[in-house]
Amino acid sequence: MFYRENGQFKTNYKADQQIFPIAQDRWAIAALLLIGFVAVPLLADEYFFKAILIPFVILSMAALGVNILVGYCGQISLGSGAFMAVGAYMAYSTFVRVEGMPLIVALMAGGLSAMALGILFGIPSLRVKGLYLAVATLAAQFFCDWAFARIGWFTNNSSSGSVAVSGLSLLGWDINTPARKYLFCLGLTVLVALLAKNLVRGAIGREWMAIRDMDVAAAVIGIRPMYAKLSAFAVSSFIVGMAGVLWAFVHLGSWEPLAFSIDRSFQLLFIVIIGGLGSIMGSFFGAAFIVVLPIALNQVLPAIGSLVGLTVSTAMISHAEYMIFGALIVWFLIAEPHGLARLWSIGKQKLRLWPFPH
C-alpha cells in the first residue's frame, strides 16, 4: 500500500538511472542518514559508541571492500586482515614521521599502500582460481604479520613493536570525543558506500560480475581478465586499507600486529557471507550482526543462566559464545545462503504487495 511505484514515471535517463529510483526509497535513505548523523550522536552513550557503533561503521567499510572482491568479482580472499594492517601501519608511518601531517593525507597514504599490495598479491589470481587462491592469499596475511613485527621502519623503530596515535583532527576539528569519532567514520563510510555502489552499477562492476560468473566466457566476449581482476583487487584493498587506518587510529588508538591477524580476515569474510555476497546493503547488515552478537550473548547468557538458577562462569560464557556463534553461522547458511540482504529484499518485495497477498 505504501511501497508502491504507481505514478512515479521518469522523464529522462538521468532520473531513470539514479541509485534509488523509487521515491519511498529516497525518503527512507534520507531518514536513515538523518538518524545516523543527527539522532544517534544525541542519544547514544559513550559505551555504545566505543563498543558498538564505531566498530560497526568501520567494519562495514571493510566489508564493502571485501564484498567487491569476493561478492562481485568472485575472488575469494583470506588476506583482508593484511590489507587492513598495511593501511594502518603505512598511515602511521606517514603520520608520525612528518610533523603536522593532515589526517586525510595519512588516510590516503594508507589506502594507496594497501592498494599497491593488493595488486601485487592479486597477480596470482590470474593463474590460480577458487580455493587455491583463497589459501594463496593467506601468504599475504602471514607475510604481513611477520613484516610488521620484524621490520622496525613500520613501527617507527619502537622497541616493543606496539604503536599508538593520538591527536587526530580534521581541518581544525578535533576528533577526540566518541561522538566525533563516530561521525568521522560514518562520513567516510557513507562516501565509500556511494563510491562502491556506483562502481558496481557501472561498466567496471559488470565486468567484475562477468568474471565472477564465468571468467572464460567473459574473456571470450572481450573483457580483459587481468584488468578486471586486478582492478577489483585494487579497489577492494584501497577500501579495506582505509578501513584499517580507521580501525587502528580511531577505534583502537594503540595496536600491535596481532590486531590484524587471520581472525580479522575470517571475521570480514563472515560479515560478507552473512550479510550477503554481492550486495552493498549486505555489508552493513553483516557488520551489525557480527558486532552486536558477541556483546548480546555476553549480556543475555548470564541473564538466561540466572533465570534457570545456574551461575555461569566467564569461561563458560566464552565457550557458549563460540558454540552459539558457530551454530548461528551454520543455521544462517542453511536458512538463507544468500545472506541478510536477501531477507531484506524479500521483505521489500512483500512490502510492495502489502496488504494484498499477491
Binding site: 611477520w146 566464552s318 565457550h319 563460540y322 547458511l333
Partner: protein, 309 residues
Amino acid sequence: MAFFLETLFGGLMAGMLYALVALGFVLIFKASGVFNFAQGAMVLFAALAMARFSEWIPQWTGLDNKIIANVLAFIVAGLFMLAFAYLVERWVLRHLVNQEGVTLLMATLGITYFLDGLGQTIFGSAVYRIDIGMPKEPVFVMDTVFEGGLLVSKEDLIAALVAACLVMCLSLFFQKTPTGRALRAVADDHQAAQSIGIPLNRMWVIVWFVAGLTALVAGMIWGSKIGVQFSLTTVALKALPVIILGGLTSVPGAIIGGLIIGVGEKLSEIYLGPMIGGGIELWFAYVLALVFLLFRPQGLFGEKIIDRV
C-alpha cells in the same frame, strides 16, 4: 654438513606430521567437495577426547594398565568422531547440498567455532597429557661418519612411521574395499554415483568418520609431542600450504607436499631466517606453495581444473 642433514631430517619428519593433518582435508574434499576448515578443530577435539578419557577411564574403572587405558580412550574418541561425522552430515551437509564452495567453506568455519566451544566445555581448557610412551630423548646416529653423530628425534621418527602406516592403510582401504571404491566413485561424480545406487549420505558420514579418525591419529601424535591444548588448532594452518602444493584431491600429493613444505620451512628458517630476523617459517611455507601454484595452478598432483563455458 652434519647440521644440514639434521635439519633435513627434522624437516622431513615435521613435514610428515603436517601431512597427517593434511590427509583429513584431502579425504573430505575428494569425497564431498567440501574444504573442511574444521579439520584443525577436529584434531583438537579428538585429541582432547583421547587425553581426557585416558585420564578418566582409569579413574572410573580402577584399571591400572596404561596401554589398555590408552586403547580404550582411543576407541572412545573414535566413537566421538563417528557421532560427530553423523551429526555433521545430518544437520549441516544434507541441507547445504549444491551450494557454492565458499558457502560450504563458511559452514565449516562455523563448525570450527562450535567444535572449539564444545570441546572446551566438555573436556576443559587446561593443558592435558597424552602419554603413549613416545621416547622424548634424542638419539645420535652415524657417529662414525659425523663427529658427535646426527641428532634424530626418536619421537618424530615414530610419528613419521605412523603417518606412513596410516597412508598405506588408507590406500588399501580406498583400493581394495567396496566402501573405498564407492567413495572414489562419489569423488568422481556425485550424480553418477547416486544413479547407480550409492547412498550419498552414508558415504559422507563414512568419509567424515575416516577423516575424523585421521584427525584422531594426528591429534594423538601432536598431542603427545606438545601437549593437548587449544593452540593445536593452529597446526591446521600449517597443513594448508601442504594441500595446495600437493593438490586438494590427492592423497600422495598430501605426503609429497608435506615433505616439501617441511624441508623448505626448516631450511629457510635456519639458513635464511637469521639474515632477516627470524620467525619466517609460516609465511615461507605459504609463499613456497604459492610459487609452485604459479607453475601448476592445481597443485602438483591435483586434478586439472576444467572450465566449461
